[in-house]
């Protein structure tokens, strides 16, 4: 099946609005930050939980990440990227830092992942919000080659480094690097990301 390229509504996430709120939070506006929280807490928590799996640890790291959003909001520049990107970059980095601080655990996971494919985007049992968004992303992920899809999801959702991805999938390092880049670009085009 060839997934139709989904038409992007005019700013469906109200992202310009979120940019403005994050800028205001950067000036010390706590009410604006609360509004930012309401918009990003679910994806921040969901992403971190995907990477860390453990619920209690995920909650702790989500709290740290959201606080970092508050502390660094003053440096956010909407001309250089969206607020959603800014926030999710912080959340993802926090999650992988936590995962990699336990190298042994990460290696254990890498070995396990060699035998067990990562859960597809719609396979998470917990209540997943914004299912339209999830469905859109899942369809675009389905449009990638198997190797691209696995490389991207192992790196992003499992927090693997690309050498860990390579060893989990049994392919060459350079191949994984290329597949991640090509896979992301294809996803970007499929999702109609405007940057």
């Amino acid at each position: 099946m060839s997934p139709p390229r989904p038409a992007r509504e005019a700013d469906p996430q109200g992202s310009a609005d979120l940019d403005a709120l994050l800028v205001r939070a950067g000036t010390g506006d706590q009410a604006a930050f609360e509004a930012v929280y309401d918009r990003v807490a679910a994806p921040v928590f969901g992403l971190i939980r995907r990477v860390l799996r453990d619920a209690a640890q995920s909650e702790e790291v989500a709290q740290e990440a959201l606080l970092e959003v508050w502390r660094t909001a003053v440096r956010f520049d909407p001309a250089r990227g969206t607020a959603v990107s800014w926030v999710m970059t912080i959340a993802h980095r926090r999650a992988v830092d936590r995962v990699r601080s336990e190298t042994a655990a990460a290696e254990r996971e890498a070995r396990a992942a060699a035998f067990e494919p990562p859960p597809p985007a719609d396979d998470v049992a917990e209540a997943v919000e914004s299912s339209l968004e999830a469905e859109r992303v899942r369809r675009c992920l389905d449009g990638l080659t198997e190797l691209q899809r696995q490389s991207v999801t192992l790196a992003y959702y499992s927090g693997f480094t690309y050498p860990q991805v390579a060893s989990a999938l049994g392919v060459a390092l350079g191949t994984v690097k290329t597949r991640i880049r090509d896979g992301l670009k294809r996803l970007r085009d499929c999702l109609g990301v405007s940057w």
């Binding site: 609360e34 994806p43 999830a134 670009k185």
Partner: protein
């Protein structure tokens, strides 16, 4: 690991970089490339925005108490930040007045005040630790009597109490300290242990 005969493409790691998937040494190397690469920033923005879409697709309702904890942290951080900034501004005010004196209970009390800012910062060292039932209360003492100017935060033995910032200072006011029941009093109920006069 380099494959002989294959030239390393300096852009190749950009996808892995956007997904935080580069080991730290390679990440540092790529960031050096990024600093001088004319096309990378645009591509990276697109890839980071794409990664953010993957995050949105993973959204999951957070535990209900997370919000309260995050907002409490934010309030605490920003309170400390605001107070520090206000205290620093007052300490460097062009019209700052300083008064200091020993108290009858022991220790030394110091006030830095700005009439233009109508505020003061109170600090102390060596004040005896009070039982939990009592507190040191500060007063602006003017022609109309004593007006409450805040409570000195209780500390355990040896520690120096945090500075107290109080606004509502008027010209001609002195600053006094009394021992009051915990929670403070609307008017002094004991004799001041020190009264500091502010003079230009």
């Amino acid at each position: 690991v380099r494959i002989p005969g294959l030239r390393r493409d300096p852009h190749a790691p950009i996808g892995a970089y956007a997904l935080d998937a580069l080991p730290s040494a390679e990440r540092a190397r790529f960031e050096r490339h990024l600093a001088s690469c004319p096309t990378c920033p645009d591509e990276l923005r697109g890839l980071a925005a794409t990664a953010a879409e993957l995050a949105l697709a993973a959204a999951e309702t957070p535990p209900p108490n997370l919000k309260g904890r995050v907002l409490a942290d934010v309030a605490a951080l920003s309170g400390a930040r605001d107070l520090d900034a206000e205290i620093a501004a007052l300490l460097s005010a062009p019209d700052a007045l300083v008064a200091s004196g020993a108290t009858s209970a022991g220790g030394t009390a110091t006030v830095v005040a700005s009439l233009r800012a109508e505020a003061m910062v109170f600090t102390s060292v060596g004040l005896p630790v009070l039982p939990p039932s009592s507190v040191y209360e500060l007063w602006f003492i003017g022609a109309g009597g004593a007006r409450p100017a805040g409570l000195v935060p209780p500390v355990s033995g040896g520690a120096v109490p945090a500075p107290v910032l109080a606004s509502g200072l008027s010209g001609g006011d002195a600053v006094g300290v009394t021992v009051e029941p915990a929670g403070g009093s609307p008017a002094p109920t004991t004799t001041p242990i020190v009264v500091l006069t502010l003079r230009a």
